[in-house]
């Protein structure tokens, strides 16, 4: 298949047009509101809902609030391996997809998860806990 040699001008024109077209298509396909539309922003719960030496698990928000005495810790329940929602167990958290295990502090006990569960920002004010995914 011998092709006619392209002139520099037509090559440049094709290149510029495809770049412009690609950029326009990219802007069209990535709506501004898209990133924040998942509806999993901030959660607020009263402190007394969290059992002492236990955890309050909110699977629909993918958040767990772990309590040890007066220390609170908010964990993102998205598995750091491939993004499934981990389940609370007696020893900590377990991922139903590929069997990763996490301790109550979110630390990896067993792979394939490469990193501990993400800690989320937690604010305590007047007995209300607010967890946000900033």
């Amino acid at each position: 298949m011998a092709e006619a040699p392209r002139s520099r001008r037509s090559t440049l024109r094709a290149l510029i047009l495809s770049l412009l077209g690609g950029a326009a298509l990219w802007r069209y396909l990535t709506p501004r509101a898209g990133a924040g539309a998942s509806g999993r922003g901030a959660v607020s719960v009263p402190e007394r809902d969290v059992p002492a030496e236990g955890a309050l698990v909110l699977p629909q928000h993918r958040v767990a609030i772990v309590r040890g005495g007066d220390d609170f810790l908010a964990l993102d329940l998205t598995c750091t391996h491939l993004g499934c929602t981990v389940k609370a167990t007696e020893q900590g958290f377990a991922c139903p997809c590929h069997g990763s295990r996490f301790g109550t502090g979110g630390d990896v006990r067993k792979g394939p998860a490469p990193r501990p569960l993400r800690r989320l920002r937690l604010d305590r004010r007047d007995g209300i806990i607010r967890v946000s995914r900033a």
């Binding site: 298949m1 396909l29 898209g34 990133a35 998942s38 499934c84």
Partner: protein
């Protein structure tokens, strides 16, 4: 005119050796047959499927329980999609083992590789559409895998702008699954066949 067209679809001459079944095992032809079955059953499924997260699963259940032949058609669509993947993989293996990717057929090998990739992508986009637990989590993990690629985050933003399970994401998978990917596959398959015919090879059906 129609007669002329049909006449020109068939090759003028066929080499005897090409007619041996062990030459190609007709794997490409069988894969194309699965693609045709997928197109036919897919077109019929379009009449019942609803591409919105709240209604998708219910529409599939309605198809399965209340439509005559609905469960059969859906099973056939699913089964042929499995067949397509297996046959395309075997066809690729045959081409590799017989060295059919070498010089004069290099262009066609590359087109075939694109077809293999598109088949997998078509299967992946179709997997989300029933919106059941399996679909949701398989797509969720797949989209995390995409992130490992260079520019993976951008690709993910294009495919699932509102996260897996969102209405935009489902609509995009739907558009890709029913128009964009199949159209690309049919066009590429035609080019694939055109090159085979020009190199005096044997085609399915014709």
């Amino acid at each position: 005119m129609l007669k002329e067209l049909v006449k020109h679809l068939f090759p003028r001459l066929v080499r005897e050796g090409d007619l041996r079944i062990t030459y190609t095992f007709c794997l490409g032809g069988l894969a194309f047959t699965s693609l045709l079955v997928l197109t036919g059953t897919g077109l019929l499924l379009l009449f019942y499927y609803s591409p919105a997260p709240q209604t998708a699963h219910a529409s599939i259940q309605f198809l399965e329980t209340s439509v005559w032949g609905g469960a059969y058609l859906r099973s056939l669509h699913r089964l042929s999609s499995h067949a397509l993947l297996v046959l395309v993989a075997l066809h690729t293996l045959r081409v590799i083992l017989t060295g059919a990717f070498l010089h004069p057929k290099k262009m066609n090998w590359l087109m075939g590789c694109s077809l293999l990739f598109l088949s997998v992508f078509a299967a992946y986009t179709g997997y989300l559409l029933p919106m059941d637990q399996l679909a949701y989590w398989a797509t969720q993990t797949g989209m995390e895998l995409v992130r490992a690629l260079p520019l993976g985050d951008s690709l993910r933003a294009l495919l699932v702008p509102d996260d897996v399970g969102g209405p935009l994401a489902l609509l995009r998978f739907y558009a890709l699954h029913i128009v964009i990917v199949p159209l690309a596959m049919l066009v590429l398959a035609m080019l694939h066949f055109f090159v085979i015919r020009r190199q005096r090879g044997l085609l399915p059906y014709l």
